[in-house]
């Protein structure tokens, strides 16, 4: 049971992570590509980290809370990096469009 839960968590996590990366290959422009990693990959990573946390708690009987910290960190930084990347892309895009005003 525990194994199955973990296995599912791991697979779901990997799935979302992969989807994020598929997104950056498949989607047509930078801004659409940005969505995948920002959301899916972050979540996927979170899922796997939690799987790990559970695994080590169960297998060693000691709390394994590191993963929570990483997850927390990813969740606060991912949107900021996305914001900054988007900001720079927007900055470059405006220039390419000859400095026209925003959307």
């Amino acid at each position: 049971m525990f194994e199955i839960t973990l296995a599912i968590l791991v697979l779901v996590g990997a799935f979302f992570t992969l989807v994020g990366s598929i997104g950056i290959v498949k989607l047509p422009d930078f801004f659409t590509r940005l969505h995948g990693p920002t959301k899916a990959t972050t979540l996927g990573a979170g899922a796997i980290l939690i799987a790990s946390s559970i695994f080590f708690f169960v297998s060693s009987g000691e709390l394994s809370l590191h993963e929570i910290l990483i997850t927390f960190f990813l969740f606060i930084t991912a949107p900021i990096s996305a914001h900054l990347m988007a900001k720079s892309a927007l900055h470059l895009k405006q220039k390419e469009n000859g400095n026209e005003t925003t959307p």
Binding site: A7, L18, V25, F30, P37, F55, I70, L74, S88, A89
Partner: protein, 89 residues
């Protein structure tokens, strides 16, 4: 069971890594590449955690945390470079 799931998951992450590298090389814009690098960092964390699960070792945690931190800092620096050129001013 778990081992199999881990293998599959690792496989998926490796595919993801390849996809990231594709975008990194193909571009076309710099933000695309930075995004690819950023994603690559996060995917590496996932790979590392999966590897830790696979071996049952907790020694990979600090590395994962550090990848997260450094990936972020790197992305910030590169983005700021695109914005301002001068990243520390």
């Amino acid at each position: 069971m778990l081992e199999f799931a881990l293998s599959v998951a690792i496989g998926m992450i490796v595919v993801a890594l390849f996809l990231n590298v594709y975008r990194l090389i193909a571009g076309p814009g710099m933000p695309d590449r930075i995004l690819a690098l950023d994603t690559l960092y996060i995917n590496s964390i996932v790979l590392l955690i999966l590897f830790g699960l696979y071996l049952g070792s907790t020694l990979y945690f600090e590395a994962a945390l550090l990848i997260a931190v450094m990936g972020f800092v790197g992305t910030v620096a590169l983005s700021k470079y695109l914005l301002r050129g001068d990243i520390i001013e």
